[in-house]
């Protein structure tokens, strides 16, 4: 079999991906593409990146065998890739370090970002402080209200947070606004997109920067258990943590790849964020992919208990992996994710992000159906400290 080599030179993953932007953005994207393709194969850049990931981010992150949890389920063994232990508490920093280094190299003194829950905003504000860059983060006005603590974190780190009041006032509108800023200020500004979406080369670039996660697993799993896992699971909103752990495993044909989307209140309720499970192909934010849209091609509002999965699109490479059958995509609803969240807290002393709790919940669902010599590797993409208010509220507790 031919090794996996997506995307094509023009950024397509089969029919997905591409560069669906106004001509006004093309020059910026072309220059980014040129620069990124250079550093991708540049040993000096990669060496500096490796240094930053080790000494600033704290990599490699360990893999942990969740024995008590696995025993309680009485089936497959669950292993956790501990991205929650990274600096800033999630996988997002892997990508922002890389893109900020690229911004510095391109001589851009200002970086901008969109954010939903605020994790990518915090990770961007962090690297902007680290490299001495001006930072502006666009955040839906609704999210600014819901995530006051992350807003304050970004401000502490020196970033300006701009509430976005257009459209549905959430992540997708923040992305629109960031694009508008970029097209206006492209001469001095680098746009750090937080997920594997957007026009080419962003899906490839964010994947590459996050794929350190999967590369580490490829060597860590044989060290721990003498082989690769039977399946790798990750939650999928835009899909960056999932691409990060999936990508190095694509050529490992015996390893099943399972993406877990946010089923919200259930797919049939219509209140969810499961673009791959319940969406249709279309064009949004610079790429063709599966979208949650109405019959007239308007993007519809999404729902998830986890703000980080609350997005109506998904990275185009996931769309391709779904159609090609290399990965399977399933949905976990709010209640199931919450249960997994509580179980991991109580049984392993690890507070997971609500996003990651979706992947964990699906692993817990299938583990009992498998024999105890099977191994499920879950990307624990972030820690749950940021979710205290949400979880407390769901439990009827006011902090």
């Amino acid at each position: 079999m031919k090794p996996y080599d997506m995307p094509s030179n023009d950024g397509h993953f089969g029919p997905y991906g591409g560069t669906f932007v106004s001509e006004t953005l093309i020059a910026a994207i072309e220059s980014l593409k040129k620069e990124y393709l250079f550093v991708r194969d540049d040993p000096a850049f990669q060496q500096e990146l490796a240094y930053e990931l080790k000494h600033y981010v704290g990599r490699p992150s360990p893999i942990y065998h969740a024995k008590r949890l696995s025993e309680s389920l009485g089936g497959a063994q669950i292993y956790l890739k501990r991205e929650d232990l990274n600096h800033t508490g999630a996988h997002k920093i892997n990508n922002t370090v890389g893109q900020a280094m690229l911004a510095k190299r391109m001589g851009k003194p200002r970086v901008i970002a969109e954010t939903g829950a605020g994790q990518h905003g915090v990770a961007t504000a962090t690297v902007a402080a680290r490299y001495g860059m001006e930072c502006v983060v666009y955040m839906g006005a609704e999210d600014v209200k819901r995530q006051a603590q992350n807003v304050y974190r970004m401000k502490l780190l020196g970033a300006e947070v701009v509430p976005v009041t257009s459209g549905s006032r959430t992540l997708k509108d923040a992305l629109n606004e960031a694009m508008r800023d970029w097209v206006t200020n492209v001469h001095n500004t680098f746009y750090i997109i937080g997920t594997v979406a957007g026009p080419h080369p962003y899906p490839m670039m964010a994947r590459d920067f996050n794929s350190v996660v999967g590369r580490e697993c490829l060597t860590q799993m044989p060290d721990m258990i003498g082989r690769q896992p039977d399946a790798v699971l990750a939650c999928v909103g835009g899909g960056s943590n999932a691409m990060g752990i999936f990508y190095p495993y694509i050529n490992e044909a015996n390893v099943q790849l399972i993406g877990v989307e946010a089923g919200g209140e259930g797919i049939h309720s219509g209140r969810h964020s499961a673009s791959l499970s319940a969406g249709t192909p279309g064009v949004l934010h610079g790429n063709r992919t599966y979208l949650l849209q109405d019959d007239n091609g308007q993007i519809i509002e999404t729902h998830s208990i986890s703000a980080g999965l609350d997005y109506p699109g998904v990275g185009p490479e996931h769309a391709w992996l779904k159609d090609s059958g290399r990965a399977q995509y399933v949905a976990i609803n709010d209640d199931e994710a919450l249960q997994a969240f509580h179980d991991l807290c109580r049984m392993e002393g690890i507070i997971p992000a609500l996003e990651s709790s979706h992947a964990l919940a699906y692993a817990m669902k299938i583990a009992p159906t498998m024999s105890s010599d099977k191994v499920l590797l879950v990307n624990l993409s972030g820690r749950g400290d940021k979710d205290m208010a949400t979880v407390a509220e769901r439990s009827g507790i006011t902090l």
Binding site: S22, E23, I26, K172, R180, G282, Q293, N296, Q298
Partner: protein
């Protein structure tokens, strides 16, 4: 010869610059559309660009985004936009209509079905903002058998090589984006626009229109001295936003009339 070609040929003979107003269909509601379009024509518009509402108009500024939001509140669909053209054509068979919008509503309808309906109702040009030439192949192929022109944007940052590529695909006219940023921004640099048009015309033989940032008669006049067309969008949408509903056709007509006079006085 397409309707758009006919308009430019006639204007060229008179050495006049085309005036192309834009507004979003369904803003503030569907009933205003036709009277507004007719008022535009009576006041001196040569071509009308109709915006297709979209939930995520990434390349537009706040003014045109709000217009989309108002239209979507009324559930205005792409099909409604096409119906407006159909009705307009019952009384006006000469003024070219260009549809301007984003890819997703069109792909949802299906590119072929969209083009077929465009042909049936009498659309003359289509500009899909997020279809740069590399992603516009399916649309260009679908348009080819019909007298519907694919309209493309050219930006200040578009390289000569790309201008050449666009020249090979574009028909009707090309739309030069006169400043960096989104629709509705200000600070247009007239001398810079003129220099850019000279550059573009080394590759493009069809008419070149200029849009983004043309907000008044004075600017229209100075741009109209060297452009083949001026496109006015956000300023019209602002007028629609501020006016009482019954007065929209009249107030938009007045604005068009002022712009028309300014353009003609430039001669």
């Amino acid at each position: 010869m397409s309707r758009i070609d006919q308009v430019f040929t006639a204007l060229k003979a008179q050495q006049r610059c085309a005036l192309i107003p834009f507004f979003t269909v369904g803003d503030p509601d569907l009933s205003c559309c036709l009277p507004t379009m007719h008022a535009m024509v009576e006041s001196g518009a040569d071509i009308i660009e109709l915006g297709i509402p979209f939930s995520d108009p990434m390349a537009d500024g706040p003014v045109i985004q709000r217009a989309s939001e108002r239209a979507l509140k009324n559930n205005v669909r792409l099909l409604d936009v096409l119906n407006v053209v159909k009705t307009f054509r019952q009384t006006n068979t000469t003024t070219p209509i260009v549809l301007m919008g984003y890819a997703n509503p069109i792909e949802r309808m299906g590119v072929d079905a969209f083009v077929k309906t465009c042909h049936e109702v009498g659309v003359d040009g289509v500009l899909v903002v997020d279809y740069p030439p590399s992603e516009a192949r399916a649309l260009s192929q679908a348009l080819a058998p019909f007298a519907i022109d694919p309209i493309f944007l050219i930006a200040p940052t578009t390289t000569d090589e790309r201008v050449e590529e666009i020249a090979g695909l574009a028909r009707g006219y090309v739309y030069y984006v006169s400043l960096r940023g989104v629709t509705g921004a200000s600070h247009i640099d007239v001398a810079d626009v003129q220099a850019q048009l000279n550059r573009i015309r080394q590759h493009v033989t069809i008419p070149v229109g200029v849009g983004f940032g043309i907000r008044d008669g004075e600017t229209a006049k100075s741009i109209g001295r060297f452009a083949d067309a001026v496109v006015v969008g956000s300023r019209i949408v602002e007028t629609i936003e501020k006016a009482e509903k019954e007065k929209i056709p009249h107030e938009v007509g007045q604005l068009i009339h002022e712009l028309r006079q300014a353009l003609d006085n430039a001669l």
